[in-house]
């Protein structure tokens, strides 16, 4: 079970040279920001609007109703199937730094009182890369959605497949795509949220298979790496290439939603698709987020 009080140990916001951790420096615009303001603003820089990366726990913390999350398979951990030099060390380091066993947290929770199977990838854990554990957890949470007739919501933040597990990582693209594909046949909604960054094998599998695809502003989203593309086409690419906004313009995603509005948008979509309502009155998330506008009324309870 997720500890709601546990403070994530990672994040891209530097506290170096800042007295007593009161002020932090935005890695994007360089502005000094009062730490509490940044936290209150869900790690969106109040000066430049940049959405700083969140760990998987932080993501669930700001999205789900407080104490609503029931984690699945928290202890599932990667082995070293290829005996790849340095992999075990990298895993230990990532476990120590994040406090998690691998790069995904999955389970069941609620958003504004609507129950959903939920998954979040953790970029801080080896770049959110998908090996056997991430693939298995995404498949299991999709199967849980199927079994309990729940909608599925997945937050992606990943560099792609985990090379240290070779072709087995590649096969996780099939496993996850097949599992979320089953929701389609069962008429259950799948909402995919792409956070910074979502690239490679994760885009080429479950992340791009959502019924509705949402991205956070400025998020890097793409299949091939910018450097590889620049070398191939022998041309420099603009800064706007492979951003969430670029994907929206090219018809690849449905919407770009600022983080403070995301919970409300997800809740509205869950209501629209008829996600089941929890019995008790929903608690607000542990950290404050703006509430969604009043709904015009619920279509029905229980997924179709």
């Amino acid at each position: 079970m997720l500890n709601w009080l546990r403070r994530p140990k990672h994040g891209r916001i530097s506290r170096r040279d800042m007295p007593a951790g009161l002020w932090v420096k935005c890695s994007r615009c360089g502005a000094a920001v009062y730490h509490k303001d940044l936290e209150r603003n869900l790690k969106v820089c109040p000066k430049c609007g940049w959405h700083h990366r969140l760990g998987a726990e932080e993501r669930l913390l700001i999205t789900l109703d407080e104490h609503s999350f029931e984690e699945m398979d928290a202890e599932m951990a990667s082995g070293d199937p290829l005996r790849f030099d340095g992999y075990r060390e990298k895993l230990s380091e990532a476990r120590a730094n994040t406090g998690n066993a691998d790069a995904a947290i999955v389970g069941v929770g609620s958003i504004e009182g609507r129950r959903a199977a939920v998954g979040a990838l953790d970029f801080a854990f080896m770049g959110g890369s998908m090996g056997s554990v991430v693939g298995e957890k995404i498949a299991r949470v999709a199967e849980r959605a199927l079994a309990d007739r729940l909608p599925l919501v997945i937050f992606s933040a990943s560099g792609g497949a985990r090379m240290q597990e070779g072709a087995l990582s590649l096969m996780q693209l099939v496993k996850t795509s097949a599992a979320v594909g089953r929701l389609h046949e069962a008429h259950l909604p799948y909402l995919s949220v792409m956070c910074d960054p979502t690239t490679g094998g994760v885009t080429a599998s479950f992340a791009f298979l959502g019924d509705v695809i949402i991205a956070e502003p400025g998020a890097l989203i793409g299949f091939a790496g910018r450097r590889v593309i620049e070398q191939t086409i022998r041309r420099k690419l603009p800064d706007s290439f492979q951003t969430a906004e670029f994907c929206l313009e090219h018809g690849l995603i449905d919407m770009v939603v600022p983080r403070p509005e995301l919970r409300g948008v997800l809740a509205r979509l869950l209501r629209f698709f008829g996600a089941p309502q929890v019995a008790a009155a929903p608690a607000a998330p542990a950290r404050e987020a703006p509430q969604a506008p009043e709904a015009p009324g619920d279509p029905e309870v229980g997924c179709p």
Partner: protein
């Protein structure tokens, strides 16, 4: 669940690297002798023959070790029979189909209809060329999203008529370009993978050369996946892996070994179902024999798979991929 691979045989890898250095040295000596022979009008034929014999012995010895880098070179060999050659040789009355009906016809992806020993099948195959001119025409076998969408269109056609899909896979990667990204390369691959897991007809896949990551996987999800002896299957090209891990694409050889991309290792991981033997020294030395071996392997499967009830076929395919992975609980 998948079993872990045994430790790499690093001693053998080192021996092979040493042999390769020796072979390169012998080749330099031969070239030098030739130049001297021409200049001084000496008879160097005897010396050259001896060196060539030594080089041949070393090559044979290396073949026995089967290094990953050798497999990469073999899979990328310009004279290796190409996927389109397999398709045209294996199928009678092959009729090519063009276009994805959405954007354009991608010359890097071949799709069409034909008969495999009396069984109607729909084939998909990326196209690589044998020289630069051919390769430019087919974008070095790297499809755009429209190539994958064209393949999906062909597979849906197969589904409509209950015909098996035959996919011959040999591609370095999905094309990494700005236009490919704009048109949704990731979505095209994801869509194909998801659709192939639930296609209601048998899907037979043969990896004949390079199984290059997601770009290959987008046409390589099947009930039975076969892999030729010297083909490779990898999550990232060895050059890319070396660049990320060690910031040095030059260490690709080392990365190739680490990625465990040879047919023997891929089969041991349970990712492919069977390894198809190649003519001694590689398929490029006898393409007809290589094609015949693929035909032999396909024949019983083309007969057996269509007899399975469709629900059972799809259930088995899901279960097969569902079980791939290595983790502790």
């Amino acid at each position: 669940m998948t079993r872990a691979l045994p430790e790499r045989d690093r001693a053998a890898e080192a021996r092979a690297a040493e042999m390769e250095t020796q072979i390169a040295g012998i080749q330099r000596e031969i070239d030098a002798l030739r130049r001297r022979g021409e200049k001084d009008r000496q008879d160097v034929a005897e010396q050259i023959r001896a060196l060539e014999a030594r080089g041949g012995e070393l090559r044979e010895a290396m073949l026995a070790i089967r290094t990953a880098w050798q497999a990469v070179a073999m899979a990328r060999h310009p004279q290796r029979p190409k996927a389109q050659e397999f398709v045209r040789a294996l199928l009678d009355e092959f009729t090519e189909l063009h276009g994805d009906r959405l954007f354009r016809d991608d010359p890097a992806m071949l799709t069409g209809l034909g008969w495999f020993e009396g069984q109607p099948v729909v084939a998909v195959a990326p196209c690589k060329g044998k020289d630069t001119r051919e390769n430019i025409a087919c974008n070095f076998g790297m499809p755009y999203p429209e190539g994958y969408r064209k393949a999906l269109r062909a597979m849906r056609l197969a589904e409509k008529f209950g015909y098996p899909v035959l996919s011959i896979v040999d591609t370095p990667a999905a094309f990494p370009g700005d236009a490919a990204e704009e048109r949704g390369q990731a979505e095209a691959i994801a869509r194909n993978i998801a659709e192939m897991t639930r296609l209601r007809v048998p899907v037979l896949v043969v990896i004949t050369g390079e199984g290059g990551s997601g770009g290959a996987l987008a046409i390589a999800v099947g009930d039975e996946v076969l892999m030729m002896e010297h083909a490779v299957y990898t999550v990232i090209p060895p050059e890319g892996c070396a660049a990320i891990l060690w910031h040095d694409a030059g260490r690709a050889r080392e990365a190739a070994s680490a990625l465990r991309l040879t047919a023997q290792e891929i089969a041991a991981l349970g990712v492919v179902d069977e390894i198809l033997p190649e003519p001694h020294g590689g398929a490029h030395l006898d393409p007809q024999a290589a094609i015949a071996a693929v035909r032999e392997a396909l024949r019983p499967r083309m007969q057996a798979l269509p007899r399975l009830p469709v629900d059972e076929l799809v259930r088995r395919r899901y279960a097969k991929y569902r079980s791939m992975g290595y983790y502790k609980e």
